[in-house]
């Protein structure tokens, strides 16, 4: 244990890793604080760069950039009422109300302080949860893996903030995309339409860049430019945060726990954690009437929650290759590329790398406090960059980055195509996160499904015979029929359904 820890320290105290963490932190802070550029997009655009780094440095950039971007989203939320990332949308109103009351320092300070606390709590959960789960997972056969992957996909559809039917449809679209190529049980070209470029299948990373970056540029074409941030001087950022920590200790802990749970659930990420925690904070608050008027309590809970979910999202990713959220989906791609294939054996064979990941999370969350304060002070300069100068650079990064992944110009075609797909889906209420999970997990779910079927000679019974498989199956099927039950129940009760009016 101590030996592995020393090795892990040696792994991360190289110049390459230190520079990677610092550069990725600054990058994450800037992208996260620009409205309309999400943390997932920041991470996806970083992947081509990670190709040329050592495994630990590559993971370090992902960890640092995603952690910083989630916090940095709070900055324009508080100063402009425009969340920098979707994860800050839940409490942007509240933070802006505080700014108008003249408490901008307190709101932003709470953002940076409780984000760091949440991030460290999430890391602790990763350290505590992952190794024992790995022990259990070692005895898993393809039946368990199939149900686990299935359950993961169902979770992703349950937590989506849209119609579950559309979420399931999105997931199926993703799985269908994963069918493309010759990497299937028969080794025959499937859905390639005679195009050799499609033989290798659709790489998840260009698809992700398309869905999260190109679609965002497309949306920017149709939406008005956000107003520039007013120049202002800030007082002490961290003043009063310790008092808040003591006063809202329970809220903070609850935010951490909710964030960890939502992070572990596949498909549900930081934005979901923030919405749930903010709602919870309001529900259980002693002074719910103050919410919405510039009250710091909800910020404490939701700010801790969204950062806690980032680290705990790595638990299912590292153990099973099932992404906890869209950022973890990108991280899985990087892990595979760097020879750290996700799986329970990772924790025994590459224990020092795992400890290095924990350490990087803790370091990233600690340096977030000074870097975050600098970023807050510089915000009025950085956020003056008009969209018409940022978006063209994003476009170039999309083109070059997707080319760099395989030195193949076809990657750019994939990016453009998925930009359109992502845009149309999002406009019509189909959650793209569910599709992304389908793409990432498609090969794995097909392999475990077909191998299980071959083992069982086409019979369905063995899918339920092993105890853990049976439990997972029950949960997965429950998740599948839950929306149906709710729908039937609502029909029977004949409550006046709030019509989803077309915009």
């Amino acid at each position: 244990m101590l030996n592995t820890l020393t090795q892990a320290f040696a792994l991360i105290t190289t110049w390459e890793v230190i520079i990677a963490i610092l550069a990725a932190s600054v990058y994450g802070l800037v992208i996260g604080s620009l409205p309309g550029l999400s943390a997932t997009m920041a991470t996806a655009l970083l992947v081509p760069v990670t190709f040329y780094l050592s495994p630990i440095a590559a993971i370090a950039t992902i960890v640092a950039a995603s952690t910083m971007a989630i916090f940095a989203g709070d900055i324009p939320g508080a100063l402009l009422r425009i969340p920098g990332t979707p994860a800050s949308a839940a409490y942007a109103d509240e933070a802006y109300a505080m700014t108008r009351k003249g408490e901008a320092e307190l709101a932003l300070g709470a953002g940076v302080w409780f984000s760091a606390v949440g991030g460290i709590a999430g890391t602790l959960s990763l350290m505590i949860l992952a190794p024992p789960l790995a022990e259990i997972a070692l005895s898993f056969s393809t039946f368990e893996y199939f149900w686990l992957a299935f359950l993961g996909l169902m979770c992703a559809t349950l937590v989506a903030r849209s119609s579950p039917v559309k979420a399931i449809a999105s997931m199926f679209i993703g799985l269908l995309v994963a069918c493309i190529g010759i990497e299937n049980p028969g080794g025959v070209p499937r859905f390639t339409f005679g195009m050799t470029d499609l033989f290798g299948g659709i790489e998840p990373i260009p698809a992700l860049v398309g869905v999260f970056a190109v679609a965002q540029v497309m949306r920017a074409m149709l939406t008005p430019e956000p107003p520039p941030i007013p120049r202002r001087k800030f007082g002490s950022i961290l003043a009063g945060q310790w008092k808040l920590t003591k006063k809202y200790n329970w809220q903070m802990t609850r935010g951490n726990i909710i964030g960890i749970i939502i992070g572990v659930l596949p498909g549900a990420g930081a934005d979901m954690a923030a919405w749930v925690s903010y709602a919870m904070s309001k529900r259980f608050s002693k002074e719910p009437e103050k919410f919405g008027t510039g009250h710091v309590e909800g910020l404490v809970e939701a700010g801790a929650s969204n950062n806690a979910s980032i680290a705990s999202g790595w638990v299912p990713s590292l153990l099973f290759g099932i992404p906890g959220d869209t950022i973890a989906a990108i991280a899985i791609g990087v892990l595979y590329m760097k020879g750290l294939n996700p799986g329970p054996t990772l924790f025994t064979e590459k224990a020092s790398s795992m400890y290095a990941i924990y350490l990087m999370f803790i370091i990233a969350n600690i340096i977030m406090i000074p870097l975050g304060i600098i970023m807050i002070r510089l915000a009025s300069h950085v956020l003056r960059a008009p969209r018409s100068t940022v978006m063209p650079v994003i476009m170039l990064c999309c083109a070059v980055g997707s080319f760099a992944i395989g030195n193949n110009i076809f990657g750019v075609v994939i990016v453009a195509t998925f930009g359109v797909i992502g845009y149309v889906m999002e406009e019509n209420g189909y959650p793209v996160a569910a599709m992304v999970l389908g793409i990432v997990m498609g090969t794995m779910i097909e392999q475990s499904f077909v191998t299980s079927l071959i083992k069982s000679d086409g019979s369905v019974l063995p899918f339920f015979e092993r105890p853990i498989a049976a439990i997972l199956a029950a949960m997965a099927i429950g998740a599948l029929i839950w929306p149906v039950l709710v729908w039937v129940w609502r029909k029977l009760k004949r409550t006046p359904v709030p019509a989803a009016s077309a915009r």
């Binding site: 949308a89 028969g186 074409m221 080319f403 760099a404 110009i409």
Partner: protein, 161 residues
């Protein structure tokens, strides 16, 4: 680009049916009961069923309206003519333009055009767009070609490094 649920639902029914049919046509692995055909069959069927449900409006009541935060003091809402919506297709079109032309024209020139068009489309004046179109491609070229050794096409204007 907001289409009625009936349209997207029926499109998914078609896509699912095509996928199931395409999967069914695939050759099985000799001597094995399941091969590459099973998974697309299952997925396609599921997708078609979901499409039907969407077309008939099942699950609509779950949809939450997006919490749109109105921008205070922003510009007036954009005009909503049919052609205006097509602007959204500009970014993917520019990327396809890059695919078609980058090898012949080279990275720097193609990238400069993409930057200039995107920037102008987002409302920048030429005083901003032109310097950006000159500097951004060179910067990206430095990072990706020099630092990360991505073989970007030199075309008619190779960079001196």
């Amino acid at each position: 680009m907001r289409l009625p649920d009936r349209v997207t639902g029926l499109f998914l029914v078609g896509l699912g049916a095509a996928a199931a049919y395409g999967g069914w046509q695939l050759p099985p692995v000799p001597g094995q009961p399941v091969g590459p055909n099973v998974f697309p069959l299952v997925i396609g069927t599921g997708l078609a069923l979901c499409g039907l449900a969407i077309a008939f409006g099942i699950g609509r009541s779950f949809e939450e309206e997006e919490h749109l935060i109105p921008v205070e003091g922003g510009q007036p809402p954009p005009p909503t003519s049919k052609l205006y919506g097509l602007r959204a297709l500009l970014p993917p079109a520019l990327l396809l333009f890059y695919v078609a032309i980058a090898d012949r024209l080279g990275f720097i020139l193609t990238a400069a055009m993409i930057v200039y068009v995107t920037s102008t489309a987002l409302g920048a004046r030429w005083k901003v767009a032109l310097p950006l179109a000159l500097l951004a491609p060179i910067g990206i070229h430095l990072i990706f070609s020099k630092l990360l050794r991505v073989p970007l096409p030199p075309g008619v204007l190779p960079m001196p490094w």
